[in-house]
Amino acid sequence: MTIPIAADLNETALAIFAIVVGITLVITYLASKRMTGAVQFYAAGRAITGPQNGFAVAGDYMSAASFLGIAGLIFLFGFDGFLYSVGFLVAFLTVLFLLSERMRNSGKFTIADVLSFRMNERPARAAAALGTLSVAGFYLIAQMVGAGVLIEALVGIDFNLAVILTGAFMLIYVVFGGMLATTWVQIIKAILLMSATIVLTLFVLAEVGWNPVDLFNEAKAKSPEGDAYLKPGLFLASPIDTVSLGIGLVLGTAGLPHILMRFFTVPDAKAARSSVMWAVALIGAFYVMTTALGFGARAVLGEAGVEAAGTGGNLAAPLLAEELGGGAGTFGGDLFLAVIAAVAFATILAVVAGLVLSASAAMSHDVWSNIVRHGRDSEREEVTVARIAALSIGAVAIFIAVLGGAGLNVSFMVGLAFAVAASANFPALLLSLTWRRFNTTGAVTGVIVGTLSSILLVIISPTVWPGPDSEGGAFGFYDLANPGIVSVPLGFLGCWLGTVLSKEERRAERSFDELYVRSETGLGAEAGTGIGLTGRPAGRTPASAM
């Protein structure tokens, strides 16, 4: 699938990576000593500060797909790759304006807490758990396979071993350290990723005489596409598919369970929104720099680098680093390549840990504790179940990745995760917080329609049917690679139809008025009670102390 650029074991990369892993294991040990219960396990005691959570959201969000993937897309296709960067960032306005504070104010650990607040609890929770597990599942498998492929190419470890190592560290963080360890892994990863990207960007700019405009021209000159390289359309040929992608990106982020879960880790709504702003500053700066990496790789490596950069151009950024450090075989080149490889590994670890944690929370808090045990289990039992769930989910993901191997077509899976998030989770969440009439039937129909339509549309899309990246798709009239433009309206339609066609149900436990007042004012919100990694207790805020 990819051409290994480090056919032999890259010892420098392994050494750097061992240091990073060592630090994260110490953090996990510290976090495990502070494990006091469910709030600590799922939400780090709600003691994470706004800026810390901003770094953690950035670390949770920027997957290897955005680091290596977008740089690769820009390297290969020019401007179209940058469209992903823009969508991934703008998405955070949806999160900031519509969800982050309301989630913090009215939820506890999971999306289902908010969705089922005023509904018939068991079906609503089951629907929310379905949405969460689908998104986390697809995302996780894509990341695990990606981890195996990348690490095999960059570090020289065998694919299966790379997958198992990634899975093992992911599970150690989550099972022993819970949210606190996961948070700090994500913070460290964000710092590493930002630093590496800044250094590479400076090297690229130095290469073109510190004139960013020259970068475009040099990149264009090195592309056989010429002027078209700086225009849209090389990768996303169909305009309607481009719009569909945009819808999926901008609404999908607001339905990603591992991102939304992060807002339960801060003491109050003010910290939740400030963390979005920190995340937006970091992620925005990062995505601007992806253009320097992508165009820089084109300007420095040229068309000759295309073959070496492999599928999707994933290895363009590491190759660029090697070249800027002095080229293959030189001390600087090897060092740069090793650093980028280690950063990519850390990047994957931080994302998969967040995914497994959110999936295990859905299994234990929603499915086990509330649906199976009717909330009569002890807190200790719930945390134990969460750990078992994390182990099982992790084991299944490792198993699928190893079984499928490097050839498993995962290119559509991240897109599918975003599609389900945008079409199932986002409509149901938004309507439960804003539409008085919305009811359990509506939520269940909406989530099911959103999930199924996303999956079906992706299955019949040209990326999957009849084979990877085939022409035309299963049906002549439908050839969209991105289902958002159809599946998101279908998700909303499902919510609406389910609601208006069902009898107005007797209010289950609590009213829309209660959810509305709580979510907007923070009245009675879960307070921060936990202890941070440094042992500093979380402060209570005026709103939550009332």
Partner: protein, 152 residues
């Protein structure tokens, strides 16, 4: 009753500090002038801001899809319209985010606090009147009960 033991914020979590406020009349709280003022002010910002960013973003995406040549035109020595418009998206996100944060700190938070205080205050009074001061001082069911004092 098992149905009252589940949910968010659940009584099962003894370390989390979610207050259940069984005394609050949520319907009255939702209709209070303080709460309406908060909703009006916040909506006055969030609704236009959301419409603006969606229009600006999808305008950009539609141009990228349908006006490839326009997006590829050079403004300055090879710096294209498309890249400039993409950069405006970044500036828009940072700008709107910053504006929202400032508004929230200065205007929405104080209003939210006031609305919450009013609701708690009204709830205390209502409960004291309905059940007498003795009952109020020993809210035996405060942990799990979700009884609401409602106007009938």
């Amino acid at each position: 009753m098992p149905d009252e033991e589940k949910g968010v914020p659940g009584p099962q979590s003894d370390t989390a500090g979610a207050e259940h406020h069984p005394e609050i009349d949520w319907i009255a709280a939702e209709r209070s002038p303080e709460f309406r003022e908060l909703i009006r002010k916040r909506r006055g910002f969030v609704l236009p801001a959301t419409i603006f960013f969606l229009v600006w973003y999808f305008g950009f995406i539609i141009l990228a899809g349908y006006a490839e040549d326009f997006m590829g035109e050079s403004i300055y020595e090879g710096f294209t319209v498309g890249y400039l418009l993409a950069l405006t998206q970044f500036i828009m996100v940072w700008g709107l985010g910053w504006l929202y944060l400032r508004r929230a700190d200065r205007a929405f938070d104080p209003l939210a606090r006031k609305a919450a205080e009013t609701a708690v205050e009204a709830g205390r009074k209502g409960r004291a009147e309905a059940e007498g001061p003795g009952r109020f001082e020993h809210p035996a069911d405060a942990g799990t009960g979700r009884k609401e004092v409602r106007p009938s």
